[in-house]
Each structure stands twice: as C-alpha cells, then as structure tokens.
Amino acid sequence: MKTNAFLGTGTLVLLALKRDRIRLALWILGIAVLLGFMVAAFGEMLPTDQDIINMATAHGSNPVMRVFLGPIAGVSLGGFMMFRLSTMFAIIIAFFGILTVTRHTRHNEETGCEELTGSSVVGRHAGLLAALLVTTAGSIVLSVLIALAFIINGHPADGSFTAGFALGAVGIAFAGIAAVTAQLTDTTRGANGLAGLAMGALFLVSGVGNMLGDFDAAAIKITSAWPVWLSPFGWYQQILSFYENNWWLLLLFVAFFLLTAKVAFLLNSRRDVGMGLIPARKGPAVASPGLLSPLGLAWRLQRKLFIIWLLAVMVVGAVLGGATTELAERMSGMERTDVLGDIFGMSETFAMALVAILGPFIIFYTVQAFLRMASEEANGLTEPVLATAVTPLKWIMSHAVCVFLGTIAALLSLGLGASVSALADTDIRVLKLFEAALIQAPAILVLAGFALLVFGLAPHLSSTLVWASLIVSIIVGPFLGPALDLPQWVQNISPFTHVPAVTEPVTATPLILMLVMAAVFTAGGLASFCRRSMRT
C-alpha cells in the first residue's frame, strides 16, 4: 500500500462531516438522550437495592430472557442498566456503525459521487479511510456522551466511562465489519444486509452464551458460557461495567477493528470502483413464465429478503429451541424464584415463551419487505409497470400479498425451528409452538396495514413513519413497557401488548379486533394509493 493511496482523506472527512452534520448529531444525541432518560426512569422505579435484586432475579433467572439481555454482576443500578437495557442500545449503535460506513463508501460509489471525487486528487483508499475515521470519531463522541448520561444520573465515574466506551466500541467493531461487506457487494442494500446478517449471528452467539450461563441467586451474578467470547456483543458485556470494570477488554475491539479494516483495505485494492468482488453474472436472455405477471415481478423482487429471513428465523428458533430442552432438564431440580416460576419444568410452555419473545421481531422483516416495495416507487420502477395494462391496485396488491404471506411464513418458520426442541423432549407438542408463533400475526399485520396506509397517503414520509411506529411498538410493548413502568394506556399503543401471553388462555377478541384494524388500514392504504399520482 502506497501512502498516496490515502491522499485527500482529510478533505473527504470534512466533506462527510459537512454532509452529515445533522444526521450524525441526531444519531449520537438521540442515542445518548434516550439512554439518559431510561437511566433516570429506572432510577425512579428501583429506589432500593432490594428492588434491583428482585427484578434482577426475576429476569436473570429466566434463561429465555437472558438471550436478549446482558449478564448481571453485583447489585448496582448502573450494573442493572447494563444488564437490562444495554443490548438494545448495543444493537442500535451497531446499526449506527454499519449505516454510517456504507453510506460513505458503497453508497457513494453507487450514486457515482466516488467517481467524481476519485477523479480529483484523492487516493483510492481515502474514501474508505474517511468513512472509518468519521464513524470511529462518532462512536467515541457517543461513548463520552453515554458516560455523561450515566454520571448526570449519579452513577460512579469509572463505571460510567467503561459503560460508555463498551457501547461505543460496538459501533467501532461493526464499522469494521461494514467496511468489509461494502467491498463484497455492489449495492448499499447488499452491504447493509450482509453486515446486518453478521450482526444477527453475532448477537445470537452471545445470547446463547448468556442463556447457557449460570445465574447465581446469592451473588446476583450471571456467569456466561464460552460462546460470548466469540462475539463483540459478548466482549462489551464481559467488561462488567459498574462491577469489575474490565476496561482492558476494549483492546479486543481495537484488535478486531484493525483486523477488519486491514481486510477491507486489501479487498478495496483488488477491485474496480463501482464493482463488488463478487462479479455480476450474465442472466437469462428470455424471462421465465413465472416472472411475467405483477405478482411474479413482486415475488422476484421480494424473494431474496424473504428467503434470508426464513432461514435466519428458522436457525434462531432451532438454536434457542434446542437450548431450551437442555435448560429445562438442568432447571428441573432448581428452586423456583422466577416470574415464570410456575411454568418451570414444563418445557412446552418454556419453548412457547421463547417463540412468543422472538415472534414480534419478525416485524423487522415485514417492514423491510414493505420498504422494498416503497423503494420501487422512489426509484421510478413503478412507472414502467403502470405504463402497461397493470392497474395501480394490481401492482400494490402483488407486493402486499408477498409481504403478508411472507410474514406468516416467517412466523411458521420460527415455529418449525423451535420444534427442534420437540425432538429432544416428547412432552412438547409441535402444534402449540406454531400456535405461539401465529398468535403474533395479527399484531404484526396491524403495523403492516399501517405502513400501507402511510404509503398511500404520504409516500415521502412512509419510511420515517413506519420505522418510528415499529420502534414505538417495541419500546412501549411487552418487551420494555412493563419494565419501564409505563402507564397502561401508553403500553396499549403497541399492538404487541394486546397479544395474549403464553401463560394466559387465548382470547379471540383482541386478535379479531386487530385483524379487523389491519384490514381497515390496508383497505384505506390501497384506496388512497390508487387515487394518487406516482412520485418522481
């Protein structure tokens, strides 16, 4: 690598900062402020050590919950925050790292901006280095702000800073991963998708590590199993901020970042601008009959995303389902201190609870599939279809069918994956697992219907509003709403609040009401889409 390959990096950093000054500020401040508020909220909710112990025991002794939480060590409010909330923030920060890097690398190439800057006095690695520098600097600023958010709420400084840098380091690790994936594919979407897949897999690895770990009720400490050491999510958790403050684990992140960056630069020097490493192949000269209808086209455009999700969900279900049976065995002799205590020993309810916790996350697929459709219009690709004998209704219905059926198929795939547990434990009825999965469908479909409605009425706002509605339904829903002690009416905003819990008997009324609502939203969305002009 010659030094002049990095020529002009400084200018490109300034350009990126100028382009993204608002976007970066929103990301960084948004995350820090949200975290600050949540820390304050938990402080009010858990005033005494005993409160912390009770809640930590309730959540920490439940292995299914542990998949989605960090480890806990010792009794402190800060430690409890890292246990209960940090995974959500780690995922958001990982997204920040991925999206910022791809935006300033592959996206620039896709739009041709790279060609413009590359033709001036700029080295071939300058763009990639600038993207990494901007993202790393952003993550460091974020780390400091997170530390401040803890300190303002009265937490000890050493713990606050290790916590801040533990979370910020996740952004840096995923910046490195995205730098590599941006070299592999020739589209931003592909690079984001590949990095997102890596994120999902790494999260699962550390989740399984925590799940298979041990909870020591006397010391209030989770000792994670070895898989956590395979994932950056595990590394930041093992820093155990506010307890051991193992700041030296940050060195793992430094090494990981340098390694991935090195790989990215090597890949970058082996390819042409605008191309991926995986070369574009030639395709068929004639279309297959399956493509030649609006539905065929929609399926072709949607199928890659669908298949990836179908497989990912099945693998997650199978891995966690397989682990539940092992846990159920181990737990059968244990004391029951858990909120789910009355169901321990019943491995079926256990597996169902797992499906019920994973199910709502399929909303991410639904939203992605929906945005796939919205991007068709934004990219001017609705026009050629509607210039033929296809009505707007037929066009949107074709995509809607793919999104709706795809969602249900993904839920069924989750049930199927979790059925692995039935192989090991004959007490588990497979049908009950499918039931636990399908019962989530009405809530997801309400959000899908809402997405269509927004798309029909205000297409330019659809992506923002749909993501916002998704995040709100997750935050005020059963996963966080009760833990944040939100008023019931706020929790009721999330459709997932209305899904009967596994331990409750299934009541049809809320499910039917949600389906009706989904249908009304969908009908409104279709009608308004057919009445409006096309964008662009």
């Binding site: 004639v286 050629p384 279809v385 509607l386 210039a387 004998a389 296809v390 096309m534």
Partner: protein
C-alpha cells in the same frame, strides 16, 4: 379519428403551475413532434397522458377515453419510452423486455428478436451493468417489439450513438408507414424535422405554436442570400427585412425576410437585376430559437429549468 385529445389541461404541483391550459390533438397515423425547453411541461403532459399523474383540470383523452380512469385498459395499445430509463438492477434486459410486453398484452417473439438485432442489444446482461444508452435501448426495443397503436416517447434518443439514432429513425418511419400514431418529444430538432408531420411547441406550460412544419414556417422568416448586378440601395427601409448584411461593393446581401413579405421584398429587389438567389426556409432550430429568444425577452421571465419532471 383523434387518438390523443388534450383540452385546456392544467396541472399544479402544490403551488407551482406546471401546465397552464395545454391543447393538443393527434390524429391517427400522425407523428407529432413535441418540443420545448427543459421544464416547459413536456414530461408532465406525457405522464398525465399515461395516467401516472392526476391532472388538476381540463381534459386528457386517448382513443376517446379518459387517460386517468381507463389507464390500464388504454395501455394495452400504448407503448412508452421514457427519457430517463429506470430498470430493475437484478433483472436482465431480456427479462425486462418480456415482462413489459407480457404485462401490456403479449410477447411478439419475431419482432423482439428483430429489434434486439437491429439495436445490437445483449439481452443477457443484468440491467445494473448497462450504460445509459443501453438502458434506453431496452426501453426502445420493448416499445418497438410491441403491437401497440400509440407510441409515447419522451426524449427517447438522448443517450444513443449516431448509428443507433439512425436505426431509431428508421423504426419510427416504419411505424408511420404502418399507420401507427407517435408522440415524440425531443431536443434533436433535426430528427423531429425529419420524422414528424406535425409539431407542437410548449413553453412554460402552454402550447405556443402548433401545426405542420410548413404552416409554422409561414409564420416566420426565410433566409435569403443574393447577388445582383447593380448595387443594392434602400433595402434596410423595406418592411419585413431583418438582420441585413451587405458587402462593401453592395452587390451581395444576406438577410431574413418575414414569409408574408417575401413577395413585396423580392419585387423591390428586382430592379437591381439578380445574378443569383438562394432562399432557404427556416429550420426548426431557427423556429425554436426565434420563439424562445423572443418570448423570453418579451416577458423577461427566467426559464424554470428542471422545475418540472
């Protein structure tokens, strides 16, 4: 029979008025040249005719039916070539051609093969690897391979090389011979001049001139170059003479003359005894420039470039 009938068509984008009462008629078998500067409203008009945009008021009929309400039904016999061709990055050119024709009604395999050959397009390449010109060829081949009756083309040849441009012109002339109707928006005025029977000029959302090329020519000036035996005197005072330039010895002159003053001007010049005389009708470029330059100066309004797409 009127294939396209547009009356007093108005379109607002929010508060911006893109079309201000457009009138246009295209009869069966006609090739209409639709010209105007960027942002004048050509694409907006065409997109309304395609039923992709809702009009604010007025009438836009195709085959006697409303372009918005009956869009899908009408599109069975319409083919469209946009100026800015967007294609699905993961589909091949061949797949897109088949898809669009199938969605329109059916695939004509013979024509498809013929057009692929004439336009030298490789149908096995993925659309994201095509250049701009090749993407345009995909849309053009797809349109010419169809059995449509009406062809809407919005600056279809902007990215083509001169050879392909010639092939394109041949194809349009063949359509004309078959009695098909074509609306061709273009900036290449020589092409419009060659292909079109009728011309409509749009400016700031209004049709400012329309008619056959011959008719339009009468509205403007012819260029005259002449050589005389006797020195030419007093020509600059004659009505209808413009841009006069006379050489020093006053036996050679070039000027433009308003078409309806041609007779009186030539009668005056007769006394100087002609040695040679060349009269050239105004080219479309001159028509166009004349129209725009003058009208812009009149109103003093800046062109709203790129405001409408």
């Amino acid at each position: 029979m009127n294939i396209i009938e547009v009356k007093d068509l108005v379109k607002y984008y929010g508060k911006f008025q893109a079309l201000d009462g457009v009138d246009m008629t295209v009869r069966k078998g006609e090739v209409l040249g639709f010209i105007g500067p960027n942002g004048a409203g050509k694409t907006t008009t065409i997109r309304i005719l395609l039923g992709l945009l809702r009009k604010t008021s007025g009438q836009a009929n195709i085959f006697g039916k409303d372009a918005w309400n009956k869009a899908a039904e009408l599109h069975k016999s319409m083919a469209y070539v946009p100026g800015d061709v967007n294609l699905w990055p993961t589909l091949t050119g061949g797949e897109v051609i088949d898809l669009l024709n199938k969605l329109r009604g059916g695939i004509n395999k013979e024509k498809r093969a013929e057009m692929l050959k004439r336009f030298e397009l490789d149908p096995t390449k993925r659309c994201d690897t095509y250049s701009k010109g090749n993407r345009q060829k995909v849309a053009i081949v797809s349109a010419f391979a169809s059995d449509a009756e009406l062809f809407l083309m919005d600056e279809p040849t902007a990215g083509l090389d001169p050879l392909m441009e010639a092939v394109f012109q041949e194809c349009v002339l063949e359509l004309k011979a078959l009695g098909k109707t074509v609306l061709l928006s273009s900036h290449t005025l020589s092409v419009v001049e060659k292909l079109c029977d009728q011309v409509s000029i749009i400016r700031q959302g209004k049709i400012v001139e329309s008619g056959s090329l011959d008719e339009l020519r009468h509205l403007t000036r012819a260029s005259i170059t002449l050589e005389t035996v006797k020195p030419i005197m007093g020509l600059d005072n004659i009505e209808g003479v413009h841009d006069l330039s006379i050489e020093e010895n006053r036996v050679r002159a070039r000027f433009q003359v308003e078409s309806d003053k041609l007779h009186s001007v030539l009668s005056f010049l007769f006394q100087f005894e002609f040695k040679s005389l060349v009269s050239r009708p105004p080219s479309l470029v001159e028509l166009f420039m004349h129209h725009y330059a003058e009208n812009s100066a009149d109103t003093g309004e800046p062109e709203k470039e790129g405001a409408v797409r």
